[in-house]
Structure formats: structure tokens, C-alpha cells
Symmetry: C2
Subunit: 366 residues, 2 copies
Amino acid sequence: MKISANQTKNSLFQKIEQVRHRQGKVRDSHITLAHGSGGKAMRDLIDDIFVSNFDNPILSQLEDQASLNLASLMQQGDRLALTTDSYVVDPLFFPSSDIGELAINGTVNDLAVSGAKPLYLTCSVILEEGLPVETLRRVAASMKKAALKAGIKIVTGDTKVVHRGAADKLFINTAGVGVIPKEVNISAHNIQPGDLVIINGELGNHGAAILIARGELALETNIESDCQPLHDLVETILKVCPDIHAMRDATRGGLATVLNEFALSSQVGIRINEESIPVREEVKGVCEILGLDPLYLANEGKLVVVVGQENAENVLSAMKSHPSGKNACIIGEVIPSPPGIVLLKTAFNAERIVDMLVGEQLPRIC
Amino acid sequence: MKISANQTKNSLFQKIEQVRHRQGKVRDSHITLAHGSGGKAMRDLIDDIFVSNFDNPILSQLEDQASLNLASLMQQGDRLALTTDSYVVDPLFFPSSDIGELAINGTVNDLAVSGAKPLYLTCSVILEEGLPVETLRRVAASMKKAALKAGIKIVTGDTKVVHRGAADKLFINTAGVGVIPKEVNISAHNIQPGDLVIINGELGNHGAAILIARGELALETNIESDCQPLHDLVETILKVCPDIHAMRDATRGGLATVLNEFALSSQVGIRINEESIPVREEVKGVCEILGLDPLYLANEGKLVVVVGQENAENVLSAMKSHPSGKNACIIGEVIPSPPGIVLLKTAFNAERIVDMLVGEQLPRIC
């Protein structure tokens, strides 16, 4: 790289020509530490894999931050929603989905459940040295597809590479920004006795699909992850009823965790009916074999909606009219007491407490 | 957890009393997979370590997203700045700083260099099973302190735990939101021939400090990381001159990388003078021993400012008046040709090309 003082100007200009022939392409087959250096290899990786896939004018500026017009955000509502999630799912690819789609939909859904229109995402990856570049390409292509479907733009990002063994293949963080419309006020603190609890379909498919995909069980099933964006279903719901009290997607920790969070935040009781909770037979089977409870199994496209009794039928039929809600059903009700507690009415007409998950059912599920 | 149908109501209520005695405290000495479960252990960890340290009314809502008033954002400017970085620095603690402070200042600085006032952060952690809880407490306390200093609020977050060996101790992602004042228009694309390049102080301290902290060299020095927030220095600069052309903090890849990015984005040449670039003698020594170039060494508190010649003296004296800029100096100038190329005028009056970093000098520097 160094040119000593006695070299001619001519050789300096030759060097300049060489430097200018930057490819903007990754030529390595595997990720190396150089891809996280901040230098040329990293820039090529970003150009070739991220900028080309996530193609939009804000990202392609390659500034260290995206700049978003506030006036146009304000036209869409009065509050900014901001959220973040890191995705460490293992394996990276699983039936019907992968970590890339998950990293988009998971954050889109955390925005959507506030009633926000999801607008912008950041994308930060931590790569293990030795990861096949082709794997990263597949994941980025999947993110591109999911972002298009969700109508969200990836506008800024970061790339880090760690030594072999210092991370497992690939972790993705996405942070999301959306705008909440004026009339919407959804919060886990708004729940009142008498409200009804609605869910948009079968529980536990994502958790069961990951479990099967790990290949530790000698089971063959056709269970697929339910990974999907929920923003459009939420929009459909808000059109018929802006007055949704609480809404959350039941991911890690499952339905049980969301309901416990609701009960604690609003200091109400929630009673659900075992018989009305939809779970696929195959998922029940997997749970029975492994001693798991579908109430705690992860989902990646399941919406839990709490709404006043007077609006429940309206919301339910709007949900059923949407492809992501066609199996929607009412699964329980909010009761004044015991506050902070979720009760399950079993098929045998007994009641048991559905506590927050103690211990861990299934690590690296998302 | 299960209560069979023939148990009395009485025992159900006893159970309720037990469930209610949630501590909101972490009692384990080390991180377990349960701390990433979405369940009770995770909630206790979040309450005890994150919510208590980052204490603010938005975060303590514990919704899946923070909700920020758009009208009050608009009072501060016309554009939202959005940025993200993952921090994987090794070791977690190093002379005068740590990964927690770095995760705040790094993202604060990526906002600040756009001219934005940094306002809100997200915080997402990936923890390795077995990490001492005390380590996480130290890091969170450090984040709290840095966030206070930078005047920024951590308003939402995420916690994931992976198996022992699937990550190295602790990774942090922060995404940041700030607001850019109306009159400010800073971009790597705005640079013009004749502009001058100013830096706020000595190069390479962070990179050298990390290198020494790894203990692989039998060197004893008093080199400390320069990790610091730059928002206040930037504000001081913008007060005397809103018309800054380009500004970036020289982190991973060092000064050389930032200047190459500038030269490429604006299609100009940049010529810097080796003799005017401030580098501590100890850092020069470390570089000589290891064959490193201080131009590529990482910093975490160094601002590169490109400004029209007519404003340079003004900006320089404003920088010198600020504690984070007292060693500020002009290090080079922008030239029309060769476009996209950075040249270094050496002490011997020769010229060499300062290319983008090829390969990797020092992995996991930030």
C-alpha cells in the first residue's frame, strides 16, 4: 500500500486506477473477520447483500443514520411507536419460514399490536466467522420479501463479525418505527372486567415446527411455523372498532405469558376456557410426548385481542373475514378478581391457575 | 402447577397467594436459559436490572413498544434520525470504559453526527447462559450513567439468552432516535473542493486500549479508551456554524475509513498531512510493535468535521473551547481530483494513497 517518496507520480496514478476498480461484490464463499472490519470487504458485503436486496433511497445513502421526514410521519398519526427485538432462532431455516422472515415479521408485529402502521426498520447482524455467504444471501432475500409484504422499509443497519465459536452462525436485530393513529389507544393497562379475549387461530405451531426442525425427535409431521405479519389484520380490526383495549402477539412464552402480562398490568383476572382454545392435533401430540403445554408454546402470527363485550362480535367477524384470522374465536373473559391471575377452566370443569412460565420450555425459539 | 378438579377452592386461593408473591428480583447468580424464556425469570431480570436502572415512565409501562409524542418531536426539528449498532467488544471491560457505556455512546454519536439531538434508545441484549448476573448489573449501571450523561432515555428493549458456547458472554444492540434541527443538512454527499477537514483530538486510543486490555501483549501503558458522547460538542459546533458539510465519528476502520467514505460519496479527493494528525506516542509505539496503522485504529469519541474554508477557524475555535475538542486541529483539505481517493502527504513530503482497509486489523473492537 505504501509508495515511497522516490516513486514517480505515474505509479501513484496506476495505483489510483487499481483502487478505483472496486467491485461492490462479495467474492468470498464464507464470512471472514474482514467482513466486519469497517473496511472494503465490509462495504462490498453491505452493497452486495443488504443494499441491493433492501433497495431504497434512504438506505443507499449509506449514512450512519437514516433521516425521516417528520411532517409526513405526523400525517399518519400522533405518536411514534418504537420497538426492538433480537432474533437468535435455531435452526436458521425451519418449515415454511426462516430467521430473516421472522426478524421482519416479529418487529412488524410488535409495532402493529400498538395499532401503529409499521413504516421503517433497522437491521443489525452479528455473523460468525465461517458462515457461508450463501446462507446470508438466502436470509437477506427472505427479509426483502417479508419487508415488501409488510410494506416496511429497511433504512439503516450494522454488520459485526465475531470469531468462529463466539456466536452461533447468525443473529439479527431489527428495531422498528411506526405511527399510531390518533383515535387508537391500545395498552395492557386498559383492560376492564367484562371484556372478552379473542385469538386469531391455532396456538403453538411455531414452537412445534422449530422443535421438529431441530431433528432431535424422530417425528415426521406437517406442522409449519405460523410466522406472518399481523399489521393488515390489525388494520382490519381497527376499521370496525378503534376502541380495542389491549392487543399483543403471543410469541415467546405463548398465550399464557401474554394473558399474565395483561392481568398484571390491568390488575384484573382473566378466565379462559380450555375447550375453546384452538390447538392442532399434531401440536397436541408433540406436546404430550414432550410434556409441554401448548399455552406456553411460541407463536409468530397469533394476535390476542381484548375488547369490550359490546364490540366483540363485530371484531370477531372482521377477524374471520381476513386470511390471517379465519380461525378466530373468543377464548375467555376478564373478571374483576383475583387481580393479576389467569385461570383456566378445564374440560372437566375444574379451574387451575395459568402462571407465568417458570423455567424454560424451549430456548432459541425466536 | 396443575390443580385437579377435586381440590378445594381453598387450595386454589392459597396458590393465588403464592403466585402473587412475585419478587421482581433476580435470585440466581448466573444467567440461565429461563432468563430468556419470556416467563417469570425473564420478567424478574427485566424489572430488577433494566427497568430499575433505566428508570423512566415509558419503559416501565412494559409494553412491547414505546410510544413517543410526535408533536413534541416536531418542536425540535423537521427530520427524525434513526440508527442502530450491535456491540460485541471483547473484553467487556477495558481501560476507562466498558461495553455498556460504548453501547450508549456509539449510538448517541451516530445520531449526533447528523446534527440530531439524541432522544431515545432501544436496548436489546443477547446473553450467554452462565454469564454472571453481577456482570450484567455492572454493564446496566454503566449504561444508566452514560444515558444520563448523554441526556437520552432507554425506552424499550429485548432480552435473549442462548446456550453456553452459542455467544460470547454478552452482545448489546442499541437503536437510537433523535431529531435533526431544520437548518442543519449534514451529509457525506455535501463535500466540496476547498473544504477543510478537522478532527477533535488524538487518534487510535480506543483501539490501542482494547488491544492492551486483551492481555495478549506484555505491555503496560496508561492508554485509555476515548469513549465519550459527542452530542454536546456537535451542538457547540452547530451553534457557531449550522452549515457543516459532512461529519462522522471515526470508529471501526478509523479515520482512513471515514475519509474514504467521504471521498467516495462526494466524488472528491481528500489530502491529509501526516504531521498534523495527532497520535499519542504510546499509541504510535503499540502500532509500531504490531505493524498497525493508527489511521485505521478504532476510536469511540473522535469527530471528523468537513467544513467550508470560510468557516473553518470559527468551527475550530468552538471545538477547542469544548472539553471533548480541546486538541482539535485541521488535518487536511478537500481537492477536486483524484475523485474518490484519499492521499496522505507524509513527513518526507511524499504522497501515498490511504485506501479503505483491506482485511481486518482488530476484530471485536466495538
